[in-house]
Structures are given as structure tokens and as C-alpha cells.
């Protein structure tokens, strides 16, 4: 029995109900729940690293008829990242939303979003994944609209409509899977999926739906406005975790469940848009006038890298090199998760202090907010992929694999993307260190600055120096019966 | 045998009359006409469900007809109550 798999889902859910019924205590409920959820995710990760794959057949019915929750290396790592990031966001949000009219609304929806994310990472059933996708989408939209204002609402609406379209396409794919293979259990499907038309069409539909949600170029159009106009703690969750959830599913489908169906030619279908996203997203980030918009476009670029990894891994036969690419992919994903959430939280502090986030008018930030500026710089280092960050290791792996497998074309893409990323980081820092009074006088270190810094430090130092654990965890897979 | 054949025929005719109602919806010159057709589709739908309950041996469809009739009344009210605050 692996009952511990339910706690990362049940804890935030129960807390959400409590916060709904007792809104005046919403903040304390939220923080305590975030702490307990963090503990439960770490417990799952620890158990997976010790015992391997965990499975819980819910209701006592065999998976297939019933629904199974499963945790393997990939889901455990993402779960732990989610627990850590959301703990930091919770501490930050307790300051950010203090005294705000939307305080209670934020905490209930935020806890529900956390429920959805963890349910998605642990789900072992394709239809259940659809339900968690919808839940995640609705909670994310509710949160993104909290900012009010025309732009935020328009962005949230577009996000909602495209997201619904995406989940509908996913559901259509699930229907084809059920028609063709007679099961919804992902482990069963990994065993029976064969390269037949049903598998191709199902994979196309599901991937099509997911890349809308994961904002792969050119379907990223909804992302910049939605992420840039949401309140900072929400942007952090959206960029660090929500898009990763869709990406996680693409990894599961392409590299594990439908591993035998994906051909190396098909890999180009997501590899090429990924490459374009790297260059285009970085370029747009360089040109962005606002700090949060810069961060949002940088997310588009980083997602491009992640899709490049998937394409590269799909082209490799199962074995050592492929596991290495997978690990690098996960390292990149989580270091982006930590770095980008740190970046958004830092941007939120700047914005609250200055009343705007126009990059050109941020002179004096470094003097007034030294710790936050340091956080932004540190997060930027991880986003650019400079050593010793996790991003550096991941990109290094990307390059060596691309060279080893003869896919030279990705070298200039990665090079250009890195240069552009360095350029947007230095542009930002240049303005931040310039003299000016826009951000106001220097004050004592705020409570909200600490979690942002902790996230940035995790992305740069902890992941860069302590990534070894990932290499052992990633090959522990619940679905890759034949692969890896 | 006779019964099942006759039922199939009546079902067909009822669907046809529904189709005629639909043509009115699609031609629909005014809002009221469309509402009227929704009414027709509602009562025609109830009729079809009742016939299906016979030919498919599924008495649960009578419950469906009941709910359909109930909700059709709600819908009709919703259709006509729209904009009443401006009127």
C-alpha cells in the first residue's frame, strides 16, 4: 500500500475547503497547507528514491477498471519541485496579498491549483489526466484574472478558450486510445501501444492539445500576456509549474507510453518549433519593455529548449545516452522552474515598490532593493545557463548529444539562444544598476524577498552542484517497460 | 412484428416532423419563431423519447422525457425573460 501518494493531493484540497469556509484565516491555512504539502511531496520523493516505483490502486480496483496513482522518478522530482516552489510562493503571497480584497479568493484557488498539479503528476490514467488538466486550467485562469484590469482579463479569457480547446483535443485523443486499445491505464497502454493508425492519430490529437497548454511556438501566443499580467505569485506558479505539467505529459506520451510509435522523423515536428521558440522567444524577451513581459517571453524560449530535448531523446534508441538526455531535460525543466519563479517573485517586488515594471525606468533598483536585484541576477544566470547553474549542465548535455548524434543544426540555435538570453539579462541589470530614484529609498529587507532569493539560490547553486541525485532517479520509470 | 414495424414507421415520421420544425428554426424570421420551434423540438423530443422507450424496451427514457419537459418550461421562461429589465 502506498497511501502516501494521496497526501500531496488531499492536503491542499482539504485546505482549500477550509479556506473557503473560513476565509478570515485563509492566509494561515494556506501557509500551513503549503508546508504540509511540501513534506508529503518530499516523503514521496524519498520513498521513490529508496523503493522505486510506487503504485496505489484507488478504491481497491485493479488499474484499468479503477484508477491508479503512480510515482516514479520523473513524477517524484516534479512533485518535489512543485512542493518547494509553492512553499516559497506561499510565504511570498502572505505578504503580497496581505490586506487585499482578493486574499481569500487567491488562497482557495491557489490551493486548488496545487491539488490539480499534484493530481496530474501522480495520475496513472489518461482520462483522469484530462480531468486534472481541466481542473488545472480553470484554477489557473481564475488566478490569472485576479489582477483585474482589461489586459489581465483579456489574457485570461484567451488562455481559457485556448486551454479548453487543448483539453478537448486531448480528450478526443483519449477516445481514440480507448477505441483502439481498450484501456485508459497508462501502464497497460505502455505495454500494448503499437504503431497502428489509432496510435498515430491519438498521439497527434493529444500532443496537439498539450502543446497549446505548454505554449510551444507558434501556439505560445496566449502565454506572454497571461503570465505578464497576472499577480506576481500567480505568474510564478504559471511559468514554473503549470506549463511544465503539460510538458510533463508530452514527455510521458512521447518518450514512454507511445515510445514504440514515435519515429525519429516525427521528432522533428516538435523539434523544429522548439528551435524557433528558443531564438524567437529570446529575441522578444530582449525587446520587451516590461520586466514581467521579459520573463514571460523567456519562458517561451525555455519551453523551446525543453521541446528540443524531447525531440532529441525521441530520436535516440533506448539506452544510456537517452537516459542522459532525459535527465538533462528534467534538470533544465526544474532549474527553469526555480529560476523563473524566483524571477517573477523578484519582479513582483520591484513592481510593488516602483508601481510599474518598465525596464527603462528601473534606475536605482540595485541601490534600493539590493537583495531583489541579486535574486534577479542569480535567476538570470540560471536562465542564461551559465555555470554553475542547473541550466548549464543541461545545455551541455544537449550540445554533446546533438554532436554525438550528428544533429549539428541545433548548435547555432542553442548558441544564439544563449547569447540573446545573456543580452536580455545584461540589459536588465544595466538599467537596474543605473542611477535613479524610480524605486524609492532603500528599506529593510522584506519578508517577501527571502523566498525569492531561496528559489534563485536553488536554481543556481543547489541544482548545479547537487544534480547527481537526478541521474539515479530518472531511470526509475513506471511506464517505460521497454525503453530506457 | 406488426407493432415493431409500425413503431419504426411512426418514429421516422416523428423525426421528420421535427425536421420540419428545424427548417423553421433555420429560416427563422423572428426571435419568437425560433422560440416556438424550440418548443416544438421540446414536445417532439418528448414524443420521440416515449416511442423509443417502447421500441428499445428502455423505460428509463420516460424519466428522460419527464426531465426534458420540466427543463423545456424553464428554458422557455429563460428565453422570454431575457432583457426584461430594459423592457
Amino acid at each position: 500500500m502506498s497511501d502516501l501518494l494521496i497526501w500531496p493531493i488531499v492536503t491542499p484540497l482539504a485546505a482549500a475547503l477550509l479556506a473557503l469556509v473560513w476565509p478570515s484565516r485563509a492566509t494561515s491555512i494556506g501557509i500551513v497547507a503549503a508546508g504540509l504539502t511540501l513534506l508529503s511531496t518530499l516523503r514521496v520523493a524519498w520513498q521513490v528514491s529508496r523503493d522505486g516505483v510506487l503504485e496505489l490502486a484507488l478504491g481497491g480496483w485493479s488499474p484499468g477498471l479503477g484508477i491508479a496513482l503512480r510515482a516514479d522518478g520523473l513524477s517524484a522530482i516534479l512533485l518535489a519541485m512543485s512542493g518547494l516552489v509553492s512553499m516559497a510562493v506561499a510565504v511570498y503571497a502572505s505578504v503580497y496579498f496581505a490586506g487585499s480584497a482578493q486574499r481569500a479568493g487567491f488562497w482557495t484557488l491557489w490551493l486548488l491549483l496545487l491539488t490539480a498539479l499534484h493530481a496530474l503528476f501522480l495520475s496513472g490514467d489518461l482520462f483522469n489526466v484530462y480531468v486534472t488538466l481541466e481542473l488545472m486550467g480553470l484554477a489557473a485562469v481564475g488566478l490569472a484574472a485576479l489582477g483585474g484590469g482589461r489586459e489581465a482579463l483579456q489574457a485570461a479569457l484567451r488562455y481559457l478558450i485556448l486551454g479548453l480547446l487543448g483539453s478537448l483535443a486531448f480528450l478526443a485523443g483519449v477516445a481514440v486510445v480507448y477505441a483502439g486499445f481498450g484501456s485508459l491505464d497508462m501502464a497497460t497502454l505502455a505495454g500494448v501501444a503499437a504503431p497502428v493508425p489509432a496510435a498515430w492519430v491519438a498521439l497527434t490529437l493529444m500532443t496537439g492539445g498539450l502543446i497549446i497548454k505548454a505554449a510551444l511556438f507558434p501556439l505560445h501566443i496566449w502565454l506572454p500576456a497571461a503570465h505578464a499580467n497576472a499577480p506576481a505569485p500567480v505568474s510564478a506558479m504559471l511559468s514554473a509549474l503549470v506549463v511544465k505539467a503539460a510538458l510533463y505529459l508530452v514527455v510521458r506520451l512521447w518518450l514512454e507510453i507511445f515510445d514504440g510509435v514515435v519515429t525519429s522523423a516525427a521528432a522533428w515536428v516538435i523539434g523544429v518549433p522548439g528551435g524557433i521558440a528558443v531564438v524567437w522567444g529570446s529575441w522578444a524577451a530582449l525587446r520587451a519593455a516590461r520586466l514581467k513581459l521579459l520573463a514571460a517571453f523567456s519562458t517561451v524560449a525555455q519551453l523551446g529548449y525543453l521541446f528540443l530535448f524531447i525531440a532529441l531523446a525521441a530520436g535516440l534508441p533506448a539506452g544510456e545516452p537517452r537516459a542522459a538526455v532525459m535527465t538533462a531535460l528534467v534538470l533544465m525543466a526544474i532549474s527553469h522552474g526555480f529560476a523563473k519563479s524566483a524571477f517573477f517573485l523578484g519582479a513582483g517586488i520591484v513592481m510593488q515598490r516602483a508601481g510599474h515594471d518598465r525596464i527603462a525606468e528601473l534606475g536605482g533598483t540595485a541601490r534600493a532593493l539590493p537583495l531583489t536585484t541579486f535574486t534577479l541576477a542569480l535567476a538570470g544566470v540560471a536562465l542564461v545557463g551559465l555555470p554553475p547553474s542547473g541550466g548549464f549542465l543541461a545545455k551541455w548535455q544537449l550540445l554533446t548529444t546533438a554532436i554525438a548524434s550528428g544533429q549539428w543544426i541545433w548548435l547555432p540555435v542553442v548558441g544564439l539562444g544563449t547569447l540573446l538570453a545573456a543580452a536580455y539579462l545584461f540589459r536588465l541589470l544595466g538599467h537596474a544598476f543605473a542611477p535613479g530614484e524610480g524605486v524609492g529609498p532603500r528599506l529593510a529587507v522584506g519578508r517577501e524577498e527571502i523566498p525569492a532569493l531561496a528559489l534563485a539560490l536553488t536554481a543556481t547553486l543547489l541544482l548545479g552542484l547537487g544534480a547527481a541525485g537526478l541521474w539515479e532517479l530518472i531511470p526509475v520509470s513506471a511506464y517505460a517497460g521497454r525503453g530506457l | 412484428m406488426l407493432t415493431s414495424g409500425a413503431l419504426a414507421l411512426t418514429l421516422l415520421l416523428l423525426v421528420l416532423s421535427l425536421l420540419l420544425g428545424l427548417v423553421r428554426v433555420l429560416k427563422g424570421s423572428s426571435l419568437e419563431d425560433r422560440l416556438l420551434s424550440v418548443l416544438l423540438l421540446g414536445s417532439g423530443g418528448v414524443g420521440i423519447l416515449l416511442l423509443l422507450s417502447l421500441s428499445m424496451q428502455l423505460t428509463a427514457l420516460i424519466d428522460v422525457a419527464l426531465v426534458l419537459a420540466l427543463l423545456a418550461a424553464v428554458t422557455a421562461a429563460a428565453l422570454t425573460r431575457r432583457g426584461s429589465e430594459h423592457g
Binding site: 484499468g64 479568493g105 483522469n128 481564475g142 | 421535427l18 428554426v25 427563422g28 423509443l52 428499445m56 424519466d63
Partner: protein
């Protein structure tokens, strides 16, 4: 000959569905499009009946044709009188979308043809039916929803709750409707009790025949919608400060009770949501009752389009000028 007779109604129905669907999505007049959508829902309900899915026919009649229609009709009131039509996509993109849709349609049709022409494989239906005895109910769809895949249903209730919380945080409810005239009033006077009665019936019958929490919840919500439409602003929802607390508790009751039962059975040494067989029937009815009330409250709130006055103790007025904190 009789083959043709039994076939023609289905062909007609399928053609009508596609025609009506086409007309609904291609109409440029919103009011027309919503009226057509309601008609589409009615037809869909017949299609479910024809496909031997009476549970869905019930749900469609109550939710799809009924409440979705009412929601959309209420939303028509929000449209600005002469809304400026936003610019559509450029021509080349429209062509691209057409091409994409056409090729996907062909691919999907081809695969469905290939897979469904063969006699149906085992899939999971047989397993579901053979385990029915141990599920505590005799309606297979209810067994799937509340027992085999109860976790799905739990998350689905969370979806409903999330959506309605989103609605509530977005703004105040719409203004109510004018007081009903005598005819509507007499309609309301017998329709509302009947709707409530029907909801109770559907909830109870769900264990052994088509019906269940979702159909019952939607029917119950329709009673509130009807009251609201007739100008009774509270529409059956609890009033006042204490009432709001009751409303919050009701909204969370569906998920809350489900969780409590799921966790409670762990006390008997079983896994999460693993009901003891002897109790399943009772537990399922308990969960369904709470879910019915929660769904009804959620849908009734959704129809109002925002939070009722006094939703929060200090009820902050979200004026549109409000900025980020």
C-alpha cells in the same frame, strides 16, 4: 425493408445534428446561435437515448439543453448593445485553420472507421459489469462514477467548485429579473416543487436506474434558476451572513464529504476510497446527496454570474478601477 425503417431515423437524426451544429457555429447572430444551441442540446439528448445511454440523456436534458442554455441566455444580457465586432483572423490563417480541421477530420474519420468496423474488442465494459455485484449499486454507470472511478468524480466535483469560485471572485452577480406576471407566477408555483421532487427522485433512483447526483443537482439548480427568473432574487439560496456561511459549507459539501468518506475508510485498514463492500451502497448515497446539493448550489451561483451580496464579511466592492495590490 424493416432494416431501412430502423435505419432512416438514425440517418435523419445524425444529419440533423450535423446541420444544426453547423448552423449553430456559423450563425453571426448571437441570439439565434444560442437558440439553435438549445435545440441542438435537445437533439443530442435524443441521440444519447438512441445510443442506449439514458443516464446521459437525462444529464443532457438537464445540463446540456437546460442549464447551459439558461447560462448562455443570461450571458446575452451582458453583451453591449452594439458590440464592436473584434477583428477576425487574416485570410491565410483562416485557410490554414480550414485545412487543419479538414485533415484532422479525415484522419479521425479514417481511424474510427478502421477501429470500429471490426467487432468491438473486450475493452473494460465486461470487467465493469462483472464487478457490479461488489460495487454496492446496480446501475453500471453509477458504479463507474461512484465506485470504480470515484476518484475521477471527486476531481470533477473539485472542477465544479473551482469554476464557481472563479465566477464568485470575478465580480458581483447580475441584477435580478422583474417581478413575474400572473401567468409566469402560476407556472413557477407548480414547476419549482416539481423540479425539487424530480431532483429527489433522480438522486434516489440513481443507484439502480439511470439518474444520480449530477442529473439531480442540475434539476435542483433549475428550480433556483426558475425562481430567479420570476423575480425572486434570493432564488432559494440562503440569505444573510449566517446564510452565506451555509452556502459556503454547501458548496464545499460535495468534495468535503467525499474526502471524509475516502479518508474515513482508511480507518478500517483499507486504501483511500476503498469502501467496505457491505457499506458501499449507503456510502455512495451519502456522497451523492452531498454532491447533489453542492452541484445545485454551484450551478445556481453560476447562473447568477457572480457573488451574491454579502458573500464576504466585509464584502469588498470590486470596482472595475481596482488595481493590483
Amino acid at each position: 425493408m424493416s432494416g431501412l425503417f430502423t435505419w432512416l431515423p438514425d440517418l435523419l437524426l445524425a444529419a440533423m445534428l450535423v446541420g444544426l451544429g453547423w448552423a449553430t457555429v456559423s450563425s453571426t447572430d448571437l441570439r439565434r446561435s444560442v437558440a439553435l444551441f438549445i435545440a441542438f442540446g435537445l437533439l443530442l439528448s435524443i441521440a444519447w437515448a438512441r445510443l442506449r445511454a439514458p443516464d446521459l440523456a437525462l444529464a443532457e436534458a438537464a445540463l446540456g439543453a437546460g442549464l447551459s442554455g439558461a447560462l448562455l441566455l443570461a450571458a446575452l444580457r451582458d453583451e453591449p448593445p452594439a458590440g464592436a465586432v473584434p477583428e477576425g483572423l487574416p485570410r491565410w490563417l483562416r485557410t490554414l485553420v480550414d485545412l487543419l480541421a479538414a485533415s484532422l477530420a479525415l484522419a479521425l474519420a479514417w481511424v474510427l472507421w478502421e477501429t470500429l468496423s471490426e467487432p468491438a474488442p473486450a475493452r473494460l465494459g465486461e470487467a465493469a459489469l462483472s464487478a457490479l455485484e461488489r460495487s454496492g449499486v446496480s446501475n453500471p454507470v453509477t458504479a463507474v462514477l461512484l465506485n470504480y472511478r470515484a476518484y475521477d468524480t471527486l476531481l470533477e466535483l473539485v472542477v465544479v467548485l473551482t469554476a464557481v469560485l472563479g465566477v464568485v471572485t470575478l465580480g458581483r452577480e447580475r441584477p435580478g429579473y422583474r417581478r413575474a406576471g400572473p401567468v409566469l407566477y402560476s407556472l413557477v408555483r407548480w414547476l419549482v416543487p416539481l423540479l425539487i421532487l424530480a431532483a429527489g427522485y433522480l438522486l434516489w433512483i440513481g443507484a439502480q436506474a439511470p439518474g444520480g447526483a449530477f442529473q439531480a443537482g442540475a434539476t435542483l439548480a433549475a428550480a433556483s434558476v426558475m425562481l430567479r427568473l420570476s423575480g425572486i432574487d434570493s432564488a432559494g439560496l440562503p440569505n444573510g451572513l449566517a446564510g452565506r456561511l451555509v452556502l459556503r459549507v454547501t458548496l464545499s459539501a460535495g468534495v468535503g464529504l467525499f474526502l471524509l468518506v475516502g479518508l474515513g475508510v482508511m480507518g478500517t485498514g483499507r486504501g483511500f476510497l476503498h469502501y467496505p463492500p457491505a457499506w458501499s451502497g449507503g456510502l455512495i448515497l451519502l456522497i451523492e446527496t452531498a454532491a447533489t446539493l453542492a452541484i445545485a448550489a454551484a450551478l445556481a451561483l453560476a447562473f447568477r454570474g457572480g457573488r451574491p451580496a454579502g458573500w464576504e464579511a466585509d464584502d469588498p466592492d470590486h470596482s472595475p478601477r481596482e488595481r493590483r495590490p
